[in-house]
């Protein structure tokens, strides 16, 4: 009989598989010992394992099929035992099945086991699950048996895909720089902003020369970064101007963090393209200057005109009709000034959204 220690062993193994993704040979030897005893199988050790474990005969027929295998595939032990038809059920696509079979055959030409073979099975309910397979061939009562251990990594793979998708689809430039300064990650936004594809950047260190082609400016940026990093290992909202592959200038705001452990550190750098924001701010400032001029200058003129008119009236030089004309003109002017103030207020409240397009173009030269 198998003691409690054996159960513990399989539990620990699964934990470790989660972390490392494969069995070590000595672990398979341990399993071999467990499976050496037919009574062990009968005793239900396999049923308590948290990974899919199956023992196969020479023609691929299933000799053992644990509870996890039932849970993962949806196929009961009764359905699969003493038959090799399960593989057609798990790999219903003939082409895919042929590919997997070919791959296994290739591996078995040189080894009597395979490690970390990833396949996608179809469960009874039609769901796809990603299984990481490790096998070992053993002899039981003089007959060849293959122990196949399948770890369901669907969740992990989905999480990994999701993480990669988040990084890739983030609206900000994300790059990870390795300890030697080479680029490990270069997401879609990085490509979109700089014009350089991951293929041109990943594994290399020269991207910085490309996006900061001016030697003096590059030196200034490098010195600034070195100074900040020396103080606190990261920097926040550091603004630099890069030159894209097409020669366009873009302003980026950078934030970095150091990640890693055991003396191996990576820098994750996030760059937000703030070019439009900066341009909008400049437009807003220019618009405010313009509107200030359009308010202060006319107010001065209206005031002077009214004073001059008063002098003319005092001197008896204006007819009442002329007086009316002047006053109405100034009333219209002040009404228009009030309208301009309202437009100005709206523009400020809505930031730059309502700055008339004509101003923008004019201000942009």
């Amino acid at each position: 009989m198998i003691g409690a220690g054996k159960y513990l062993y399989l539990h620990i193994t699964r934990e470790r598989i989660h972390n490392q993704g494969f069995f070590l040979p000595w672990e398979l030897i341990q399993m071999e010992k467990v499976f050496d005893s037919h009574s062990c199988i009968e005793a239900g050790i396999l049923d308590n394992a948290l990974v899919m474990i199956t023992v196969l005969g020479e023609k691929g027929e299933v000799i053992a099929w644990n509870h996890a295998a039932e849970t993962i595939t949806g196929h009961s032990r009764k359905e699969v035992i003493d038959s090799n038809t399960i593989w057609k059920e798990l790999y219903p696509d003939r082409e895919y099945r042929a590919r997997i079979t070919g791959k296994i055959s290739d591996i078995l030409k040189t080894n009597n086991y395979f490690e970390n073979l990833e396949t996608t099975i179809r469960t009874r309910s039609g769901e796809s699950r990603i299984i990481l397979w490790n096998t070992k061939t053993i002899l039981v009562d003089g007959r060849k048996r293959a122990i196949a251990v399948g770890l369901d990594v669907t969740g992990e793979r989905e999480a990994k895909t999701f993480r990669e998708s988040v990084i890739d689809n983030a609206y900000v430039l994300i790059t990870v720089i390795g300890p030697q300064g080479s680029i490990l990650v270069w997401n879609k936004a990085a490509e979109m902003i700089t014009g350089y594809t991951p293929a041109e950047v990943i594994g290399r260190r020269d991207i910085w020369k490309k996006i900061y082609p001016d030697t003096d400016y590059r030196r200034t940026v490098t010195q600034k970064i070195s100074r900040i990093i020396a103080e606190r290992n990261y920097f926040e909202n550091l603004e630099t101007t890069i030159v894209t592959k097409t020669g366009e200038r873009r302003i980026l705001s950078w934030n970095t963090r150091q990640i890693g452990s055991a003396g191996v550190f990576h820098e994750i750098a996030i760059g937000r393209d703030i070019t439009e924001q900066r341009m909008a701010e400049e437009s807003l400032v220019a618009y405010m200057t313009e509107m200030t001029m359009r308010l202060s200058q006319p107010v001065g003129i209206v005031s002077t005109t009214l004073l001059e008119t008063a002098e003319l009236v005092k001197a008896g030089l204006l007819t009442s009709e002329e007086m009316v004309t002047v006053l109405q003109a100034q009333a219209r002017n002040t009404a228009q000034i009030a309208e301009n103030i309202r437009e100005f207020q709206t523009a400020i409240v809505e930031k730059n959204g309502s700055i008339p397009e004509a101003y923008r173009k004019f201000l942009e030269g």
């Binding site: 003319l312 004309t325 002047v326 003109a329 101003y359």
Partner: protein, 183 residues
């Protein structure tokens, strides 16, 4: 007081930007008209602040011969609705923001004085800012200065000295030949 407009430059059909304070801009207007009238020029004044009727009185009061001045008035119709044009004296346009009408008026009035010593005076860029953006003013002044150069006519633009947007100021400076800051 020295002349605001240099006679030689006027003869060379130069285009001037005259800067003055709000308190003195009217005074500068009258001084310039007096100066160039004395030099035998007929001045077409485009007024966007004081109506023709009042401005002509001010000129007369300061001894300017009204025979040598005619007006494009952008104020009166905008204030009281209707006013009839008086040939070779005043031409009204409906409102100071209508640059198309103003452009047509300038073109037609200058044609009337074709062959004569004529000068155009625009009073003022600053008042136009009530109705128009820098961009539109800049375009209009570009149009007028081009027309003046093509017709070989001198032009004077009056503006309040301080507070002009640097961008507009830069553009105006580009369009004119001489900037005179009268303080």
């Amino acid at each position: 007081m020295p002349d605001v407009i240099n006679q030689q430059e006027l003869e060379q059909k130069k285009i001037f930007l005259i800067l003055a304070s709000p308190a003195t801009i009217r005074e500068r207007n009258i001084e310039i008209i007096r100066e160039i009238s004395t030099l035998g020029y007929h001045t077409v004044v485009i007024t966007t602040n004081f109506p023709y009727s009042v401005l002509s009185k001010l000129y007369a009061q300061k001894g300017v011969s009204l025979d040598r001045v005619s007006f494009i008035d952008a104020v009166t119709r905008n204030s009281i609705g209707t006013a009839e044009n008086i040939p070779r004296v005043v031409r009204y346009i409906n409102n100071p923001a209508n640059l198309t009408d103003m452009g047509i008026a300038v073109t037609e009035v200058l044609k009337e004085y074709s062959g004569e010593k004529v000068c155009i005076m625009y009073d003022s860029v600053s008042t136009m800012l009530i109705y128009l953006s820098s961009a539109n003013i800049s375009k209009f002044i570009h149009f007028v200065t081009n027309k003046l150069r093509l017709m070989d006519i001198s032009g004077i633009f009056l503006a309040v000295e301080k507070g002009l947007d640097p961008m507009l100021m830069m553009q105006l400076t580009t369009f004119v030949d001489t900037v005179v800051d009268t303080g």
